[in-house]
C-alpha cells in the first residue's frame, strides 16, 4: 500500500496549460475519483502519475519518494485504460503473464499467480482465448486482472467503464469497488460520470479547467459543494438567490419572494447582501398552495419509475423537485414548495471566505 501525493502539479502543452497546479494526497488503500467535464485534465493527471507525460512543474511522491523523473516501467503502477489496451496477439493468460515476465518472476510462480488472478475476475474458462473473442465486460475484467496481478503499488483507471452498456456498468462498479477493497490497493479512478464517482469512491475530486474545485467524500461533495459549478456538475442543483434579512452568530434569515422566510446556518451573506443557497431536488417537498415556503406551478412532470420529477416555475426561477410516486400532482397545477432548512446549503462566496 502506497500513499500518493501530488504537489502543485503543472502540465503545459506549449502555450496551453492542462494542469494549473494540482495538489492532492491519496492515502493508503484509498479510492479516489477524479471527476470533471471533458478536457478538465483528468486523463492528463493520470498520465503524469503513470509517467507517460513529463510534468512541467511540481512533484509526484509515492510514499514520500519523488518519482516524477522515473520512467513508467519504474513506477510500479497498474493501469486500466478506457480501451482496455489488451495485447491482441496474446491470449488472456499471456496478457496476464506479461507483467510478471517483465519482473522476472519464476515460471512456476507466474502460472499460479495468473491462475489466481483469473479466478479473482472469474475468467478461468477463458484463459486460452484471444481478447477479440471476449465480450466488452470480459475484456474489462482481463484488463483489471492484468493490472492487479503484478501487485502494483497503486492502481490507475481511466474511464474503464465508458465503453460498457448501462447494466454492465452498474455491475462492474460494484465489482471493481469490492475488488479494490479486498486487495486494499491505493486507487485513482478517472470518470466524468458523477454517479460512478459517488458510488465507488472514498473521496471525490472535482476538477474544472485543470484545477481542483473540491476534494471531499461523496456525501460532502453532494450536500456541501464548494461552489455553484460543483453543485451543478454533481447531480441536479436548485440554486436560489435570496435576500438576507438578518444575521447572528448562529445563522442568517432569508426572505423568499411571496413572503416566505427561511433560516440557514450561515454566518454571513455574500458581498452583495444576498445569499445563494442550494437545495437538491429530493430535498424539496411539494405541498398544497399556501403552505410551504414558495409558491409555484408545475410545468412538466416526468415519471421515471422510482420517483416523479417535477419542473416547477417559481418566482425564484424554474426549480426541479423529486416527489414520491404515491403523490399525484398534474402538470399545470399550483403548488407550494417546502424546504428543509437544515439541508439547505449556502454556497460559499467565490470572492472570498464568508466571514
Amino acid at each position: 500500500m502506497t500513499e500518493v501525493s501530488l504537489l502543485s502539479l503543472v502540465k503545459s502543452y506549449g502555450k496551453s496549460i492542462a494542469l494549473k497546479g494540482i495538489s492532492l494526497s491519496v492515502g493508503h488503500g484509498e479510492f479516489v475519483s477524479l471527476l470533471g467535464p471533458s478536457g478538465c485534465g483528468k486523463s492528463t493527471t493520470l498520465k503524469c502519475i503513470a509517467g507517460f507525460e513529463d510534468i512541467s512543474d511540481g512533484k509526484i511522491l509515492f510514499d514520500n519518494t519523488d518519482i516524477s523523473r522515473r520512467l513508467p516501467e519504474q513506477r510500479d503502477i497498474g493501469m486500466v485504460f478506457q480501451s482496455y489496451a489488451l495485447f491482441p496477439h496474446m491470449t488472456v493468460a499471456q496478457n496476464l503473464a506479461f507483467g510478471l515476465e517483465m519482473r522476472r518472476v519464476p515460471k512456476s510462480e507466474i502460472a499460479t499467480r495468473v491462475a489466481r488472478a483469473m479466478e479473482m475476475v472469474q475468467l478461468t474458462p477463458y484463459a486460452e482465448r484471444f481478447p477479440k473473442a471476449l465480450s466488452g465486460g470480459q475484456q474489462q475484467r482481463v484488463a483489471l486482472a492484468r493490472a492487479l496481478v503484478i501487485e502494483p503499488a497503486i492502481l490507475l483507471l481511466d474511464e474503464p467503464l465508458a465503453n460498457l452498456d448501462a447494466k454492465l456498468r452498474d455491475e462492474m462498479r460494484g465489482f471493481i469497488r469490492d475488488l479494490q477493497k479486498r486487495v486494499g490497493i491505493t486507487t485513482i479512478y478517472v470518470t466524468h460520470d458523477q454517479g460512478e464517482a459517488m458510488t465507488m469512491s472514498d473521496r471525490v475530486v472535482v476538477m474544472f479547467d485543470g484545477e481542483i474545485a473540491q476534494a471531499a467524500p461523496p456525501e460532502e461533495v453532494y450536500n456541501h459543494p464548494a461552489s455553484e459549478r460543483v453543485a451543478r456538475f454533481v447531480g441536479n442543483a436548485n440554486i436560489l438567490d435570496l435576500a438576507v434579512t438578518g444575521k447572528d452568530a448562529a445563522g442568517s434569515d432569508l426572505a423568499l419572494p411571496g413572503g416566505g422566510a427561511l433560516r440557514v446556518d450561515s454566518p454571513a451573506p455574500w458581498a452583495n447582501g444576498r445569499l445563494r443557497v442550494m437545495a437538491r431536488p429530493e430535498q424539496i417537498a411539494l405541498t398544497d398552495p399556501g403552505a410551504g415556503h414558495l409558491g409555484g406551478e408545475i410545468s412538466k412532470r416526468y415519471f421515471s419509475g422510482g420517483h416523479v420529477e417535477y419542473h416547477v416555475d417559481t418566482q425564484c426561477g424554474p426549480l426541479v423537485v423529486l416527489g414520491p410516486t404515491t403523490q399525484t400532482v398534474a402538470e399545470g397545477q399550483t403548488v407550494a414548495l417546502a424546504f428543509d432548512p437544515a439541508r439547505l446549503w449556502p454556497i460559499p462566496d467565490p470572492k472570498g471566505p464568508a466571514q
Partner: protein
Amino acid sequence: MRLATPLLTFIRVSVYVFLLAPIVIVVLASLNAGNFLTFPPQGLSLRWFWTFLQNDVFIDAIIYSAVLALCATAVSLVIGTMAALYFVRHATREAEVVRVGMLLPLILPEILTAIALLFFFYEIGIGTEHQIALFTGHVLMTLPFVFLNVTTSLQGRDESVELAARTLGASRYTAFRRVTLPLIAPGLATGGIFAFIISFDTFGISFILKGAGSAPLPIQLYDYLRFNFTPEAAAVSTVSILLTLVLVTVSDLVFGRE
C-alpha cells in the same frame, strides 16, 4: 445503371487484357524454339531457359540484383518503420513533412530522382563508384512502400497498448519488440516484399546510377537486347516474373487475412 453493365464489363476486360497481354506474350516468347525473339513462337521448347541458366552474365546479374534488393529492403524497413512510427504518433507539421518526404520518390518521376542523386553524388565527389549511389537510389525507391504499409498497419491501432506494456514493466525497447512489432508484422512483411520487388525490377535508377562492373538484371537485360534478339531475354524476364509472382502469392497467403 443496367445499360452501363456491358460497358463496364468491356472496360474491365480491356484493362486486364492491356495489363496482362505483355506478360503473356513474354512468357510465350520465352518458350520459343526458334532463334529469334518473335511472336507467335515457332514451336515450343525450354532450350532458352537452359541457355540462360548457363549464361554467367545473367546468373551474376540475378544474384547481384537479389543481394542489392535484400540490402535495400533491409535498410528501407528500418528507416521506413521509424518514419511511420513518428508520423503516426505525432499530429504535427513536422510529421506531415516526414510523410511527404517519404512519399516523394513515389510521386516524382523515377528519372528525376535518379538524376538528382547522380548530381548529388558527383557533387560530393563520390560519383557512381562503390555502388553507394546505386544503393541509395534503391533505398529511396523502396522507402515509400515500407512507409505506406507500416503506416497502414499502425493506423487504427490502439496506442495505449504500448503504454500498457510500459506500466507492466517493459522498457521502451521491450514494449516495441514484444507488443508493437508483432502487431505491425503484416505491414512489415508486405512492405518488405513490395520493396524487394521494386528494387529487383527498377530500371531508371539503376541505369543512371550504376557504376562500373556488375549491373542489376534489368540493366543486363537491356544491354543484351541491344545486340542480341534471342528468346533468352524473354526467358530471363519470365524467371523474374515468376519470382515476383511467388513473392506476391506467398505474402497474400500468409498475411492476406489481416
